[in-house]
């Protein structure tokens, strides 16, 4: 058991090196403090989080997919981009979800009255909590892949042939299902049906996030006429808050903690997710020179602007305005500074929800990550 663990760590280290070099190679840039916060945090939890990538990528099933996927090169099937993100970990923040679960596990520690003495605790984290971190990554990735299934009736000639796109869909469905199935058996092995229930609900929340009215049937952002900021909150919770907050809650539950600690962990995850999304949404507005193409009409600043008294434009126009035009419309209002303040507030709430836990390295790492997130 321990031997195989050491072997795994060794393999992971190699994999990590590869990942880092790819990141430099392909010029992914992230603010230094973010990178530092994440790298430091990884040290705190002992070894890196995402085994999912390795174990699943090495399976027969996914190598089969990889062979088929070569045929997709040259098409615009979203699966290609997602797969690239999986390996290079460029833009999808893949590893942080699991990392946060591990950090909150270590922050909360193990409860006194417990049954988990017989488990191998490494760096203050239970094996079941490490599995949970992995499962959270799998569920997130599965959803990312399934959202990339394309409607064959809406594809453009430039996307690729119908045949290729159909193949891409097939691979996307199977790969996503494979991850979900692994998540499902992994959850069962945790021997805690409350955790199974909580985490299973995240899969449904991810689906619900695609039916909030803030997107068309192809998943492209769309602004309905009666949009309010509550829609953004709802959307953000369903698409990222649910998984993060509920995995934090479940991690604490696995260590035998009660309702109070579970609520704190949930609040941390929820506010962290809101701050993270708000920060992402603000980037194109604050640094348009690098990020303008990431501006979407369902981002927080746009929705806040529309719902505010500044807005003089009919909502439907935002659905057809160019990104540049939207930037110009919003830039001069106080919406951006209001959004920044709000982002800071969510960050503070996240940090405050940790106040019940004793100060430790892991807690500091979490605080640093939050601070790096809200620093836009």
């Amino acid at each position: 058991m321990r031997m195989s663990l050491i072997r795994n760590i060794h393999r992971l280290k190699k994999f990590q090196c590869h990942r880092v070099s790819c990141r430099t190679l392909f010029g992914f840039s992230r603010p230094d403090d973010w990178n530092k916060a994440v790298t430091d945090a990884e040290k705190v939890v002992g070894y890196p989080t995402s085994f999912m990538s390795l174990r699943c990528l090495l399976s027969d099933e996914l190598s089969n997919v990889a062979i088929h996927m070569r045929k997709l090169v040259g098409t615009k099937h979203p699966l290609l981009k997602t797969a690239r993100g999986l390996v290079y970990d460029g833009t999808h923040n893949l590893q942080t979800r699991g990392l946060i679960v591990l950090l909150i596990s270590k922050t909360a520690g193990l409860s006194q009255n417990n049954f988990h003495q017989q488990q191998d605790v490494i760096e203050g984290i239970l094996p079941s909590q490490r599995s949970l971190a992995e499962i959270a990554e799998m569920i997130y990735t599965a959803n990312l892949i399934h959202k990339g299934v394309v409607n064959l009736s809406d594809i453009q000639p430039s996307d690729g042939s119908v045949h290729d796109m159909e193949l891409g869909n097939k691979m996307a469905v199977l790969t996503g299902d494979f991850l979900l199935a692994n998540a499902s058996t992994g959850l069962a092995q945790l021997h805690n049906t409350k955790v199974v229930e909580t985490i299973s609900s995240c899969i449904g929340d991810h689906v619900s996030a695609e039916f909030t009215g803030l997107q068309d049937k192809n998943g492209r952002p769309y602004l309905p006429d009666n949009v309010t900021f509550n829609d953004w909150l709802n959307q953000t919770f369903l698409s990222s808050g649910s998984l993060l907050s509920k995995s934090c809650l479940a991690a604490v539950e696995l260590a035998g903690h009660g309702l109070e600690e579970q609520t704190s962990a949930f609040e941390f995850g929820k506010n962290m997710a809101l701050a993270q999304q708000l920060s992402e949404d603000l980037k194109p507005f604050l640094k348009p020179e690098d990020n303008l193409e990431q501006l979407t009409i369902t981002s927080a600043p746009v929705i806040k602007y529309i719902a505010s008294s500044y807005n003089k434009h009919p909502i439907s126009l935002f659905n057809i305005y160019s990104q540049k035009k939207i930037l110009e419309v919003i830039k001069d209002s106080s919406i951006l500074s209001e959004s920044k303040t709000l982002c800071n507030e969510y960050g503070e709430k996240a940090i405050n929800s940790l106040s019940k836990f004793k100060n430790c390295q892991a807690k500091n790492a979490l605080i640093k990550i939050v601070k790096a997130v809200v620093d836009v």
């Binding site: 299934v149 959850l187 409350k194 229930e197 695609e210």
Partner: protein
């Protein structure tokens, strides 16, 4: 017609010869190639069964095999030997109450979805499905409850949940299969992907699985969660197995049977086992439930694969051969390939060239592939009956036996 009759006569003769050979302790010709892989046992590796491992299923006393091979109602005698001979127990009647409210109960569980999403997720829960899986699960619940304590035939709430979950997992997999196979109809209506597009359909399938998993977790039984999550993994692995065909001909049949277990039988086997555990049955009994579910599942799928060659498309008036069009080689083709080795190259290229489907259909019709498939299905049916007879006699037990006959004789 006359030609057909004479051909059937010929193959009958050949089979009787084979049976004679079987009497001498030799394998049936058709199965000779798979010697060593031992057809049914291949799927046992997942849950080893002491009671099952050593039954030489193709070495049964020849008297019980005889010409019945070609007569699908052949196992009638066995079916009625446990209770009064002519008594017919309609499997539907015993669980009518639960079955009639099952779809509604599932829909209630899905109510949490937003209006738009709900339209998609309830699309296939329209009461038009056969609800075959819940029926098996509910009858098994009754049979196990009575086996454990004869006065106790009431299906518990948790067992009913397993019935719902089995149908939900099945439906979610149908939705994903329809996208993968680019199906345009299902149960006589437009398929979900044609109405809402592939993207939303896949997500709707995920939603159904999510709700089913939550329902499962609320039973608050770790063992049950582990058993049913295995089903989801099997379904996906089975789907992956369907992507490729084995190059080695002798491995192909094993591969096919393993795939069949994973894609169809695992759900029935594991759900049956789950309800027997909920009935507080000891391990020997839960193993019986598992084996019954596994064998009825494989028989069900073999008949399904066979009907693809024998049932006629209403409009075209010729066999539908939907599997061939998808590039899948099922039992009838694999058997036919023994008589006509030229089929092997078609199987390898997944019937992708013009005329391949037609050629394969023709050769299957010329061979004994269909009859041999039916024979194999009967064997699994017989094994299921043998297993379920190990339980104490009850009406539900008899219904489960009758259900085998329904599966083996169904026309669609």
């Amino acid at each position: 017609m006359a030609a057909l009759r004479s051909r059937l006569h010929r193959s009958l003769l050949r089979f009787q010869l084979n049976l004679a050979a079987c009497r001498d302790g030799r394998w049936l010709r058709s199965f000779r190639k798979y010697e060593g892989t031992n057809l049914i046992h291949t799927t046992s590796i997942f849950v080893p069964s002491a009671s099952f491992m050593h039954i030489p299923i193709y070495h049964q006393p020849s008297s019980c095999l005889q010409v019945r091979v070609f007569n699908s109602s052949s196992i009638k005698d066995e079916i009625h030997s446990t209770t009064k001979p002519r008594e017919i127990i309609d499997p539907h009647r015993l669980v009518e109450e639960q079955i009639s409210s099952l779809t509604l109960q599932i829909k209630q569980e899905l109510q949490g979805a937003s209006q738009e999403l709900y339209k998609l997720v309830e699309y296939y829960f329209d009461g038009q499905g056969k609800l075959f899986r819940p029926m098996v699960v509910l009858l098994m619940s009754q049979a196990c409850n009575q086996h454990h304590d004869f006065s106790q035939s009431l299906i518990t709430e948790d067992q009913n949940k397993i019935a719902m979950i089995s149908e939900m997992i099945h439906t979610a997999s149908l939705i994903h299969d329809d996208v993968i196979d680019a199906a345009d109809t299902r149960r006589g209506k437009t398929s979900i992907n044609m109405v809402w597009g592939q993207r939303m359909s896949i997500l709707a399938g995920d939603y159904v699985i999510s709700i089913a998993s939550m329902l499962l977790a609320r039973i608050r039984n770790d063992q049950i969660v582990i058993i049913l999550s295995q089903v989801i993994e099997d379904l996906v692995r089975g789907e992956f197995m369907q992507l490729g065909s084995k190059e080695d001909e002798s491995e192909r049949f094993t591969h096919y049977l393993r795939k069949t277990f994973k894609k169809t039988a695992s759900l029935l086997a594991n759900s049956c086992q789950a309800v027997s555990i909920l009935a507080n049955c000891p391990e020997e009994v839960t193993e019986i439930a598992y084996q019954y579910g596994k064998n009825i599942g494989i028989a069900f799928q073999l008949i399904d694969d066979l009907l693809d060659f024998t049932s006629c498309d209403l409009i075209l008036g010729k066999p539908t051969a939907a599997d061939l069009k998808l590039g899948l080689a099922t039992a009838p083709v694999l058997f036919a390939a023994q008589d006509y080795p030229e089929l092997n190259s078609l199987i390898m290229r997944r019937f992708s060239l013009d005329g391949d489907v037609e050629t394969a259909r023709h050769l299957v019709a010329k061979s004994d592939g269909v009859e041999e498939t039916r024979y194999l299905a009967n064997q699994h049916g017989r094994e299921a009956i043998k297993q379920i007879k190990l339980l104490k006699q009850s009406e539900s037990q008899q219904a489960l036996i009758n259900l085998i006959n329904t599966v083996l004789t169904r026309k669609k």
